[in-house]
C-alpha cells in the first residue's frame, strides 16, 4: 500500500473528504489501474455532493476492476444518493454475486427493499446478513425496521433491546427503538429513545424527525393522525390509492342510503361531518402541529427548516380561516362561510404540498394549491357581491376541484424522490 493510499484511507476515516480525495488521486497517479482507490474517490466526491463526478468515477472504477465487488458497492451508493434506486439495487446485486458473504452489501440491499416497502424480502435479506455477522449494525437496523413494516412491532422492540444490550451507545438502534415505540403509541419511551439517539449523534436526521413526531403527540388529535399516517406509510402506492378509492365508494353508497331513508339522513350527515374533520386533519395536522410546536423553545429548535416553512404557510391559512369562521358564527354571513372553507382547503393544500419532496413534485402540488386559493378568493368576492349569474358558486366548485386534484396528485407524488 503506497503512503498516499494509506494517508487517504486515514483521511477518509476522519471524513476529511477533500484531503482524502487529493491523496487518492496521488495514489492513482502511482497506480492508475487501482479500481478500489478509484471507487474511494467516487465515495469522497459523493460526500462532497459532486454527484455527477462521483457517478463517473464509480463507473470508471467498475470498468477498471470488474472482478471486484467494492467498486460496484461504491457505484450502488452513488446511485442511491442520487435517488436512482433501481440502478442501485441492480448494482448491489452484482456486488453480492461477486461477494455473496458480505453482510454490508446484504444490509444495503435490505435497505433498498425496505425503501420499496417489500418488508418480507427486506427481513429475509437482513436475516441473512445477520447470520454472517450477528453484530452488523446496518443489518440489525433493517431487520427491526422491516419487522415494524410487517406489523411485528413487539418483536422488533425485543430485538432492538437485545441489540442495545450489546451496543448501548448506538444512536441508530435508539432511533429505531423510538420509531417502534411510536408505532405502539408509547410516547414516553419514544421521546427518551430519540433524545438518547440525538445526544449520541445530534446530526441523525431520522431521530430528529422522530423526536418531532413524539413531541407532537402531546396534542390529543395528533395521536390518531400519526397512527393513521404510520399505517399508510407501510402500504405501497397501489394499496394507498385503493384505500382512497374505497373511501370514495363508501361515501357514494352512504349518500344513496341517505336519499332513500329520512331516518338515516341524520346519521349519515354526522358520519360525513366526522369524515370531513378527519380528512381535514389528516392533511393539515402535520403543518398545524408544527405551528403549535413553534411556541415551545425545544420544539422550535427541533423543527427542520422545511417544517418551519410549512408551519408559516399553515399559519397564513389557519388565521384567516379562524377569523372567517368566527365571522360566520357572529354575522351568519354566507361569504364568510365560503371564505372559511376556502382557507381550510388552503390549509389542507399546505399539508399536501409539503408532503411531497422539494423540487418538481412540490412545485406541481403547490401550484395547484395557489390556483385553488386564488379561484376560491375570487368566488368569495363574487358571492359577497351576490352576483346573480352564479359565477361565484361556479368558481367555488372549480376551486374545490382544483384543491381535490392537488391532493390526489400529492398522494401519487409523495413517495417520489426526483433523481439528483
Amino acid at each position: 500500500m503506497s503512503q498516499h493510499y494509506e494517508k487517504a484511507m486515514l483521511l477518509f476515516e476522519q471524513e476529511r473528504w477533500e484531503l482524502a480525495l487529493e491523496n487518492f488521486h496521488a495514489a492513482l497517479e502511482e497506480d492508475p489501474t487501482d479500481g478500489v482507490a478509484m471507487a474511494y474517490t467516487a465515495l469522497c466526491l459523493m460526500r462532497m455532493e459532486r454527484l455527477a463526478e462521483a457517478t463517473e468515477a464509480a463507473q470508471a472504477a467498475v470498468t477498471t476492476s470488474p472482478d471486484k465487488a467494492w467498486p460496484l458497492y461504491a457505484l450502488a451508493c452513488v446511485y442511491d444518493e442520487r435517488n436512482r434506486f433501481q440502478e442501485a439495487e441492480k448494482t448491489i446485486g452484482q456486488a453480492i454475486e461477486l461477494e455473496p458473504e458480505n453482510p454490508g452489501y446484504l444490509a444495503f440491499l435490505a435497505g433498498l427493499r425496505a425503501h420499496r416497502k417489500e418488508w418480507k424480502q427486506a427481513l429475509e435479506i437482513a436475516n441473512r446478513a445477520l447470520e454472517l455477522n450477528p453484530n452488523h449494525v446496518g443489518a440489525a437496523h433493517y431487520r427491526a425496521y422491516a419487522l415494524v413494516g410487517l406489523g411485528r412491532a413487539a418483536q422488533a422492540r425485543e430485538f432492538l433491546s437485545s441489540a442495545l444490550g450489546r451496543d448501548p451507545e448506538n444512536p441508530l438502534y435508539h432511533a429505531n427503538l423510538g420509531w417502534t415505540a411510536l408505532e405502539q403509541g408509547d410516547r414516553e419511551t419514544a421521546m427518551a429513545a430519540f433524545q438518547e439517539a440525538l445526544r449520541l449523534e445530534p446530526e441523525l436526521e431520522w431521530a430528529r424527525e422522530g423526536l418531532v413526531e413524539a413531541l407532537k403527540l402531546q396534542y390529543p388529535f395528533y395521536g390518531l393522525m400519526l397512527r393513521w399516517m404510520l399505517k399508510l406509510k407501510k402500504y405501497g402506492k397501489t394499496q394507498q390509492l385503493a384505500i382512497i378509492y374505497g373511501e370514495y365508494l363508501i361515501t357514494r353508497w352512504l349518500m344513496r342510503l341517505a336519499r332513500r331513508s329520512k331516518r338515516l339522513r341524520l346519521l349519515v350527515n354526522i358520519i360525513f361531518l366526522l369524515n370531513f374533520l378527519f380528512t381535514v386533519l389528516s392533511w393539515a395536522a402535520e403543518p398545524l402541529t408544527s405551528l403549535l410546536l413553534r411556541f415551545n423553545p425545544y420544539g422550535r429548535a427541533s423543527l427542520s427548516e422545511d417544517q418551519l416553512r410549512a408551519s408559516t404557510y399553515a399559519g397564513g391559512a389557519a388565521c384567516p380561516a379562524l377569523l372567517c369562521g368566527a365571522g360566520f358564527l357572529m354575522f351568519k354571513s354566507v361569504p364568510m362561510l365560503v371564505a372559511f372553507f376556502v382557507f381550510v382547503m388552503a390549509l389542507m393544500n399546505v399539508g399536501a404540498a409539503f408532503q411531497c419532496h422539494p423540487g418538481r413534485p412540490r412545485q406541481v402540488v403547490g401550484a395547484a394549491g395557489w390556483a385553488a386559493l386564488l379561484v376560491g378568493l375570487f368566488a368569495v368576492y363574487k358571492i359577497a357581491l351576490w352576483n346573480p349569474d352564479w359565477t361565484g358558486w361556479g368558481a367555488l366548485t372549480l376551486s374545490l376541484n382544483i384543491s381535490f386534484l392537488g391532493r390526489m396528485l400529492s398522494n401519487v407524488l409523495s413517495g417520489y424522490q426526483p433523481p439528483k
Binding site: 503512503q3 494509506e6 494517508k7 486515514l10 483521511l11 476515516e13 476522519q14 445526544r199 445530534p202 429548535a301
Partner: protein, 411 residues
Amino acid sequence: MNPNVLEALIQALAISPDNVVLRVQVVEGLLRAGRAREAAEQAPPLMESTHQALAVLARAHAALEAGDRAQARELYAQAIRLEPARVDEGFEARLEPDDDPWRVPTIGEDPDAPQSVPVHPDRRDRITLADVGGMEPLKEQIRLKILYPFQQPHVYAAYGKKIGGGILMYGPPGCGKTYLARATAGELGARFYVVTLEEVLNMWMGQTEKQLHRLFETARGNAPAVLFIDEVDALGAKRSEIQSTHIRIMVSQFLVEMDGIAANNEKLLVLGATNVPWNVDPALRRPGRFDRVLFVPPPDLTAREEILKLHARGRKIADNIPWRKIAENTELFSGADLSALVELATEGALAEALRSGRMHDVTPQDFTTAAKTLKPSTVEWLRRAKNYVTYSNADGSYDDVAQYLSQIKMR
C-alpha cells in the same frame, strides 16, 4: 484569479506601466498563481509606492523559489514588518529550514538528535489584539482566559486557580482563529509555534509518539511559547470512532503530552483550533487539558468593516464606498467570505475595464452586485452547531454557541 484575466492584466500593465493599482493586482495574481519569479520582476516599481511590503514579499517568494531560504525569510520578515496583514501561514511553513531549532519537528527526523540553543531572533512580527478589529467580547474572553493567567500566575495561584493546560478555540471556518491565536501570542510576547494539518498528517504516517513528544519538548524548551495546533481534531480525534491503530496511539500520546503540560509547564500554552469541536475526543476536554473553550463567532459589524477595508487596500477602489453599509448587509459572512466579496467586486470592475478599455474604480454598485451572488459560508456550520446545542449540551460545552444562535435568531 482566472488565468485569462491575469494574462489580460499583464498585457494591460505593459501598456500602462505607471498604473500602481494594476501592478498590485498583477503581482498579487502572479503570487497566487505560484509564479514568484515573474511577480518579483513586476514588483520593483512598487518599492516607491505605499505597496512596498508587497514588493518585498514578491522578492521573498522569488528567493525561496531560487532556493535561498535565509534570504527569503529575511525578506518575508521585512514585508510583515511593513504590513502585518501580509502574514501568510502557508508561506511561513515553506520557510522553515531543516536545521531551524525553532521549527516544529516533522516526520523522518532523528528524534534523539540534540537540540541546539535558539539563535534566531523572533522572526515573526508581532500582531496583537489591537490589530483585530471589533470582536470586543471575544477579546475580553481571551484576556480573562488566556492572557491574565499567563501574565499574572501568582494572582490566580492566590485564589487557588490552576493555570496552564490548553485552550480550545472553535467556530466556523474562515473566521480568524489562527489570526487570533497569533495575536494572543503577540500579546504574551511568546514564541509562536504552528502545527499545521499537513504536519499532523505526516505524524499519522511516522513514529507517532516520538514525533509528538519531540514537538512538545521543543516548545517547552523554548518557553515562554504558544503552541498552536490547527485543526486539532485531526490530532485528537474521538477514539470511539477511529479504527486506525496509528491514530488511536497518536491521540493517547497527545493526552499524555497535554497532561505533562498541566503538571510541569507554566510557560507553555497550547492553543487548539477546530471547526468540528464535536469530533474532538472528550478526554481532551478534561481538566488540565483543553479545559477552557473559546467560541470564535463570525466577525461582528466592526470587524467586518475592518476586514473589508483591509482587503480593499491597494486596489483601485472609489472613495465613496459605504463600508459600514456593506458590513451591515454581510451579516454572518466569515473573513474568507468578505475577502471573496472584495475579490469578486474587483473582478467585476476589472472585467468592465477590459471590455470598455477604460479603467475605472470599483464602485459601490460592484460591491452590491458581488454581495448578491455570495452567501455566508458560516450558515451551514451554524446549522450543524444548532443540533449539538439542542441535543448534546448537557455539560454546557456549547453555551456560547447557544447564546450566539439566539442572538442571530437561529434558535
